[in-house]
Amino acid sequence: MADDLDDGIDFEHRSFWNDASRRFCRNRLAVTGLAIVGLVAFLAIFADFLAPFPYDHAYFDKVLLEPFQHPDHPLGTDEVGRDYLSRLIYGARTSLTVSLLVQAIAVLIGVPVGALSGYFGGRLDFAVSRVIDVMTAFPSLLFAILIISVLDGGLPTIIIALSITGWIGIARLTRAQFLTLREQEYALAAKALGVPSSKIIFHDLLLNALTPILVAVSFGIPGTIFAEAGLSFIGLGINDPLASWGKMVGVSNAYVRVYWHLALFPTIAIAMTMLGFSFLGDGLRDALDPKYEE
């Protein structure tokens, strides 16, 4: 669209975040994504109230029921006789816990490391860059497998294993942002005025680097859900009886030819969640980047 037309249409002057949220709300897919993510979060948080049965109670007289075969278990039961609907609902909790914690750790490590390295440069940056080089060269899945086979198969292990390589992407992104931002006029001006580095880094520059980081996180969450599902699929996931969609799909592999429901429902759950986060991520990126406005 011609530049001058943009000016012609958009006269009201709003703040950046107002603009962004307005753009976000206008994007139907983004709102759908947010709704899906909200639903998953709702299931995860209120699983205790929403699930008709405990996720771990085995009914030995009702093993491997198919959907609608028994009125109490609309989605059937699993190979140990546990209500499948309840396990799906609790699976949301596992997926979100793992992915949010891993992303949180990634941000907590990656952002400061990347920011300091990008801002100060020099020897620190050299060291950080080499660490990033080395970690990038590690196949993260192979690395996680190696780590999980050493440590216990509990939820904390999965989170550690995925976090060890998870922060690299965020650190690289933040570093790149800071490399550019530190040369910007306002950063130079702040420096010239004698503003302390810590304030420049964590106040002035971080706010500007926030957008790409936010987008990276929103795409990182489904990535982590994937990774957890993959590890659980090959039997390196969380302990039973905790429910995880990835583990449910993995186990279902042995049953699927007869008991199709064991594979179908967690597949749908993973796909819908991924879809939600993808829409959300796309929407965020478009909303935070004025260039994407139509």
Binding site: D61, V80, L242
Partner: protein, 564 residues
């Protein structure tokens, strides 16, 4: 159930041998049964696991990393019949001297290698020496330590490199006479000679232990020999025309087709393979078999093969408390687990270590009550241990040893049964095999609560009860148990008294809850209906059908029947 005609096959066969001369003969000159397909069609297709880690066809080189279709190239000294009695294998007879430790095995006359040279006692000696050579560290070497008194004299010293291999208590008196000296008096020694396979001394010297991996250097004294081998894709065995042993093959060829165990059943349904072992059938496969009468009729169960159980670290809280262990043992709803998780085709509930049909097993039900499912009783025990209603019982993680989903479900169900009955929290963690075994062997053990299965090595109670002695794999200890087992294993000539000693030992095991027993697993194979042979089709004792892992003579017995 087999059809009537199959039951009478041996009789028909005997009559027919005298009357017919038109029928084709096998490479060893044996006539095929009248209902057999032409010799060119005597091909059995077996599935091979393409993800298995494998290095050799030979038991004596590696037990745990065998290629598909291993042990066709040699005959063991001793084999078993369906009732698990020892039968002549490569050895036609054996005897023990008055000292009780010097055993003599006489080989069959005329045994031959496929290169035309005779099989001699020297080949067996060379194989034993190879296996004990510290440089080769055979992965089954632990076994002759494990059988304790049944171990070969100087075995541990040779393994340790303290004595030369020549000092091993195995000697060839002449070409056909093999002398084995054991560490102590061990009456069931012939039973463990099931594992005495021979490598060819000459080939071993010329080409090293992997000579059988290449058709060019492979040499066989067993019913089959290697025709071609493309690891990961296909392996072909053909009948050995020089074979002179106890199981002359009726099949002309065995083809091993590599695929993932997950797809064996599909391949079977697509008529790509002719048999599948129960270990490779998924729960969905079993569900399909149980719903299809023809498949069900051809799923043949040779016998109970092993025991699944829960074990504890009895030296540390909370499992140092016998009442806690008793509570756990009574809280496992074995009957329900067998019925709905395994399926009755796969297991029977277990209350003891020894399975029905096994020597000295508890057939009267005398020991059943010690570990009967009784949730009320379980709760009482837990309350007595200081955890009324499970309050304050520390959460536990039950370790599994890299189990497949079907068996993992069983242990998850056992954990759920305990958790639900006692109101406590047990998680189940499926561990990497080596991590599990490392922790299990650690002393003191690192596994507080674990589940594992143990399968039969040889048909003597000492095998299954021996793992519970103080020097065994579990850290449960009971002095009286050790003493009784020691006494029973030395006993010669008093089978009834020996059995009652084992019974007494097992009573201690279940009463002191060394393990909480869940189920005995059925062995089983799915065979295509056209695969025939009394060894797999005729019922043995306990109404089971045939090829236990012990009786490998089925490879000389089975054949492909005519299309009906």
């Amino acid at each position: 159930m087999p059809t009537r005609s199959l039951l009478f096959t041996p009789l028909v066969l005997a009559l027919w041998l005298h009357t017919s001369n038109a029928q084709e003969k096998t490479v060893t000159g044996l006539a095929l049964p009248p209902d057999a397909a032409p010799y060119a069609e005597q091909v059995l297709r077996i599935p091979c696991n393409n993800s298995a880690n494998a290095v050799t066809f030979d038991f004596s080189v590696s037990v745990y990393q065998p290629y598909c279709g291993s042990n066709f190239f040699n005959d063991p000294l001793v084999t078993f019949d369906k009732a698990l009695n020892p039968q002549p294998g490569a050895a036609e007879s054996w005897s023990v001297a008055d000292d009780g430790v010097t055993w003599t095995f006489i080989l069959h006359q005329g045994l031959m290698w496929s290169d035309g040279t005779p099989v001699t006692a020297h080949d067996y000696v060379a194989t034993f020496r190879f296996s004990a050579d510290p440089d080769h560290a055979w992965d089954f070497a632990w076994y002759y330590t494990f059988v304790d008194k049944g171990g070969i004299k100087n075995w541990d010293e040779v393994i340790a490199g303290e004595l030369p291999v020549e000092a091993l208590g195995v000697r060839a008196i002449d070409d056909r006479t093999l002398e084995i000296i054991t560490k102590g008096i061990f009456p069931p020694l012939p039973k463990i000679m099931k594992y005495a396979y021979a490598l060819q001394k000459k080939a071993l010297a010329e080409h090293g232990p992997y000579y059988n991996n290449e058709p060019a250097t492979a040499v066989s004294s067993g019913p089959f020999m290697l025709e071609s081998f493309d690891h990961g894709f296909k392996v072909v065995f053909k009948a050995n025309p020089h074979y002179k042993g106890y199981r002359p093959p009726r099949l002309a060829r065995i083809e091993g087709i590599y695929m993932s165990p997950a797809t064996y059943f599909i391949a079977y349904l697509n008529n790509e393979i002719d048999t599948i072992n129960f270990n490779d059938l998924s729960p969905a496969d079993f569900a399909t078999i149980e719903r299809d009468p023809e498949l069900l009729a051809n799923y043949l169960r040779p016998g109970l093969i092993g025991t699944d159980y829960v074990f504890f670290d009895p030296h540390n809280p909370p499992f140092d408390n016998l009442d806690v262990r008793k509570a756990f043992a009574h809280a496992i709803n074995r009957e329900a687990i067998v019925k709905s998780i395994y399926g009755e085709i796969k297991a029977v509930p277990a209350h003891t270590m020894l399975m029905p049909g096994f020597p000295a097993a508890d057939i009267t039900g005398d020991l059943t009550d010690y570990q009967r499912f009784d949730c009320g009783l379980a709760k009482e025990h837990l309350a007595k241990a200081g955890y009324p209603n499970g309050a304050d019982f520390p959460p536990q993680v039950m370790w599994l040893r890299n189990e497949n989903p079907g068996i993992a479900a069983v242990y998850q169900a056992a954990a759920a049964s305990i958790s639900q009955c006692l109101g406590i929290n047990i998680q189940v963690s499926n561990k990497d095999n080596k991590v599990f075994m490392d922790a299990l062997h650690e002393r003191p053990t690192k596994i507080a609560l674990g589940s594992v299965a143990y399968a039969i090595d040889f048909a003597d109670p000492i095998n299954l009860l021996g793992i519970w002695v103080s020097s065994g794999r579990h850290s449960w200890r009971h002095q009286r148990f050790d003493e009784i087992l020691d006494e029973a294993s030395n006993l010669i000539g008093e089978p009834a008294r020996r059995d009652s000693l084992f019974h007494a030992a097992e009573r201690i095991l279940v009463d002191d809850v060394g393990g909480a027993f869940i189920a005995h697993r059925w062995a089983g194979d799915l065979w295509r209906p056209k695969v025939r042979g009394a060894s797999i089709r005729d019922p043995g004792p306990n109404d089971t059908y045939g090829s236990h892992s012990g009786n490998d003579w089925q490879w000389g017995d089975i054949y492909i029947g005519k299309a009906q």
